[in-house]
């Protein structure tokens, strides 16, 4: 069964066509990278998948179920989680408080009205485990807005893991990170259980391709190319789009060379 | 049948007065996203100014313009020296205008007392027209005319070069400022314009609905319902919404006066449930 099926999805905002006829199948446990130049519609696509936006046409199926009209919180209960490109956190809460909120089990304890939160020790245990996984346990009492950018990204990652998702949407997880922090995030992503399907939207083409087995190239709201990294690279349309960005083009070449897939 | 036509006539003239007032509110929200709750106080003060001025000016039109200008100045001062500082927080701006509502309401009470007052209908428009079996005051015809005229003027204005600047400013402030437009001045002028309409409406509404404490909140309430139904920031919505609210209010008041508020509540509730952004509003 597909973890995710984006079935001919289009999205327009009052006359501006942002996504056109997107069709993507993602099997369970598989990892997909979505790359493309700025304004290609990558974040819009993530917003449509996670339910923040509803598509103008087409369907979104999560694990076989049509979730097109469903709110974000229902998709979370289906096993979806996402991180935000522009960090979306709880600015005046502490790291630990943020996690406590994230790990509150979706059904039972949420509406507990009168028992003090201190009595829910399993929330604290799970929060600790997740924070240790990303290396933020020592900083648990820090106020979120005082964390460094990299630490905030790690927090975001920890929060997105809290509901044991089966499909993760990572929207530019490496954006704005130092090389050291990038390595840390990459290792966290790599260490995720193999049955978790993943979509990574990234500008850092190198990093995205390290983590994903398949690539979709988006341009101007349409799928330009799709397939294994080295295949996609050879497509002339893709080369045209990336010709402008020397660095990512070069890094892609280097990457393919490293993987021994570039023969000329 | 006559009854229906009479209520229709009254309803439309009431709607036009409401539109005049609400248009000002919508202008202010449209450009600055400020929900100016003081707008009702502007109406009330405009009306009270009108009562004072008319004894000297003797001419309702002149009084209305003077009243409008007076309120425009008040609005400009409020916007420039206070609201402007809180541009980033719409919530704070609403709270501030809310506080001013209370302040102005009691100020008006202390200055002019609690007795209801009225502005005399100008001599020229005192007569009535007989249509069918009905006697229709000419003044209400004048109101309808003024409402339609204002709607037409505003529509032209928005399509004009100045109007385009205003709309561009709404869309993208930085860009508009980047091409040399003094956005800050534009905002102050727009706020003044909106306040002017409220003050003007206060004066010309005087002969029809009078002037009394509590009027500020009553008319504000109707305006809020109008923009909820019509859509925030939409002049077209304000026009249609005013017609709807004006007509419904008039009809229900004629039939079941105590329950006119229920009718207003009902249409507001239906709108919020079925189409929360209003008829012409954007999400």
């Amino acid at each position: 069964m597909n973890a995710l099926l984006i079935d001919h999805v289009s999205k327009n905002f009052g006359g501006v066509q942002v996504l056109s006829n997107i069709f993507i199948e993602l099997e369970e446990g598989k990892r997909l990278a979505i790359i493309g130049p700025n304004g290609a519609g990558k974040t819009t696509l993530i917003n449509v998948i996670s339910g923040v936006l509803k598509p103008s046409t087409g369907r979104i199926l999560l694990f076989g179920e049509d979730m097109t009209r469903h709110s974000p919180y229902l998709r979370c209960r289906k096993g979806l989680s996402r991180t935000f490109q522009i960090l979306s956190l709880f600015p005046s809460l502490t790291v630990l408080e943020s996690l406590l909120l994230s790990v509150m089990p979706v059904r039972s304890d949420q509406l507990s009205l009168l028992r003090p939160i201190g009595m829910f020790s399993h929330l604290y245990h799970t929060s600790q485990r997740l924070l240790e996984q990303v290396g933020l346990w020592e900083k648990r009492e820090m106020i979120v807005c005082n964390l460094s950018h990299g630490e905030q990204k790690l927090l975001e990652m920890a929060m997105s893991l809290s509901q044991a998702p089966k499909l993760m949407l990572l929207d530019e997880p490496m954006a704005g990170l130092s090389p050291g922090e990038t390595v840390l995030i990459s290792s966290v992503i790599r260490s995720l259980p193999s049955d978790v399907a993943m979509i990574i939207v990234e500008h850092n083409v190198d990093a995205a391709l390290e983590l994903a087995g398949r690539v979709v190239v988006l341009n101007q709201g349409m799928i330009l190319a799709e397939g294994l990294p080295h295949e996609v690279r050879k497509e002339p349309k893709v080369q045209e789009v990336y010709l402008g960005t020397e660095e990512s083009w070069r890094s892609w070449k280097d990457f393919c060379k490293k993987r021994g897939e570039l023969h000329s | 049948m006559e009854f229906i036509f009479l209520q229709l006539f009254n309803g439309i003239s009431w709607a036009m007065l409401l539109f005049l007032f609400t248009a000002g509110f919508t202008l202010i929200f449209g450009l600055m996203k400020i929900i100016n709750l003081t707008h009702g106080s502007y109406y009330l003060f405009g009306a009270y100014f009108g009562i004072v001025v008319i004894s000297y000016a003797k001419n309702l039109l002149v009084t209305a313009i003077i009243g409008g200008i007076g309120i425009a100045i008040l609005g400009m001062l409020m916007q420039r020296f206070l609201l402007h500082r809180y541009e980033t927080s719409h919530q704070t701006q609403v709270l501030l205008t809310f506080g001013f509502t209370l302040f102005f309401a009691d100020l008006a009470l202390s200055i002019w007392g609690g007795e209801p007052k009225t502005i005399p209908v100008p001599h020229l428009l005192e007569s009535s027209i007989r249509l069918g079996g009905l006697t229709l005051p000419v003044y209400r015809f004048a109101l309808i005319l003024i409402g339609l005229l204002t709607a037409a003027l505003l529509w032209c204005f928005l399509k004009s070069k100045f109007g385009m600047l205003v709309r561009a400013g709404i869309e993208n402030e930085e860009m508009t400022a980047g091409v040399g437009v003094n956005i800050s001045l534009l905002k102050t002028l727009t706020f003044a314009g909106g306040a002017f309409l409220a003050g003007l409406a206060g004066v010309i509404g005087g002969p029809v609905i009078g002037v009394y404490p509590g009027l500020d909140m009553q008319i504000l309430l109707l305006s809020l319902v109008i923009v909820i139904i019509g859509g925030m920031g939409s002049l077209k919505g304000a026009f249609i919404g005013s017609l709807l609210v004006g007509l419904i209010d008039t009809f229900i008041k004629a039939l079941f006066p105590t329950f006119s508020l229920f009718a207003i509540f009902f249409i507001m509730a239906v709108t919020l449930v079925v189409r929360p952004s209003g008829l012409f509003g954007s999400e």
Partner: protein, 321 residues
């Protein structure tokens, strides 16, 4: 545990105060307690959920009028607790129905819609003269009494203890509520609703429940207010009343339960003091509100600490404590 003991101590102190102070102060203390309940209900929405209602006095008045009408027109003074219960039910019902319309909106739009609703109720109270007596209001409402225990609350000091018990209960329930997972979810919604949705919370439901709870406590405060003055008029539905509660919440520091206590006490004391010098207390309230919003949006504490340049604990309530 420490805070629990401290709170019990404070309540005990409060209970003893009217016996120590001249009887003039009993009335003031009653009014403070009523305003605290009202302010707490407002802060539940404002400081915790992040929704600021501008017409919160509507629930204050709905319960007040319901209780007054029942006890005056139907029961003629007997069985006062039925009126009391009816007032609570009225608040819950109204909040449940209005909540369906109102809780779908957010931010300034929410402020606008709640104001419109509040004004409608005020207008209704004024217009429906047959029922509500219009601007003249309804007088002669008798306070409840527990006849089998021969407890009569018409005496102010007895009424004080009646209010004290209800205040204590309200404060206790509020603290439990805000310390529970539900309470923390509200804080999360205040901080970042979109994120809470992504994390799997049905934020609408949480806001709706909070709205109903807030309306209920506001209704309780309203009834106590009507019992105290033994009179009800459209004034309790007026924006002045809503603004008074807003001042109490903001001045005391929103997002902190004890803030409502401080803010309410300050407000009532200010009212007592300033009303002695001027008739135009309403104008002062409007000005005061403006000043509070400008200079003390985070409460008096930060204002004072800014003046004294000292380190203070963050204002907003914490998750997990």
């Amino acid at each position: 545990m420490k805070t629990f003991l401290k709170t019990i101590l404070l309540f005990a102190l409060l209970g003893v105060l009217p016996l120590l102070l001249p009887s003039y102060f009993t009335g003031i203390l009653i009014r403070i307690m009523i305003l605290i309940i009202f302010a707490m209900s407002l802060d539940l929405l404002m400081g915790y959920t992040g929704l600021t209602p501008l017409g919160h006095a509507a629930f204050f008045g709905i319960s007040g009028y319901t209780m007054a009408l029942l006890s005056l027109k139907i029961f003629h003074g007997s069985m006062p607790f039925i009126g009391f219960a009816a007032g609570i039910v009225a608040a819950i019902l109204c909040a449940a129905i209005l909540g369906l319309i109102v809780v779908r909106t957010k931010g300034v739009y929410f402020m606008m819609v709640t104001l419109a609703l509040g004004q409608m109720f005020w207008g209704l109270a004024v217009k429906w003269q047959q029922l509500t007596g219009g601007t003249d209001g309804l007088a002669g409402i008798s306070r409840p009494s527990i006849t089998f225990a021969s407890l009569n609350f018409s005496k102010e000091i007895n009424f004080f203890y009646f209010v004290l018990v209800l205040f204590g209960l309200s404060y206790f329930i509020m603290s439990l509520l805000l310390g529970s997972p539900f309470g923390h979810t509200l804080i999360g919604i205040r901080e970042n609703e979109k994120k809470m949705e992504i994390l799997g919370f049905n934020t609408w439901l949480h806001k709706y429940i909070a709205y109903i709870i807030a309306g209920t406590f506001a209704g309780l405060a309203g009834m106590l207010d009507v019992y105290y003055y033994q009179f009800v008029s459209p004034e309790i539905l007026d924006i002045g009343n809503s603004i008074g509660a807003l001042i109490a919440v903001i001045l005391g520091g929103s997002g902190r339960l004890f803030g409502s206590v401080i803010g309410a006490a300050l407000y009532v004391c200010l009212e007592q003091f300033i009303s002695a010098y001027t008739q135009r207390w309403v104008m002062v309230v409007g000005l005061l509100f403006i000043l509070v919003v400008i200079f003390a949006p985070l409460g008096l504490s930060p204002l004072l600490s800014r003046l004294w340049i000292s380190m203070r604990k963050p204002q907003k309530n914490r998750v997990g404590q």
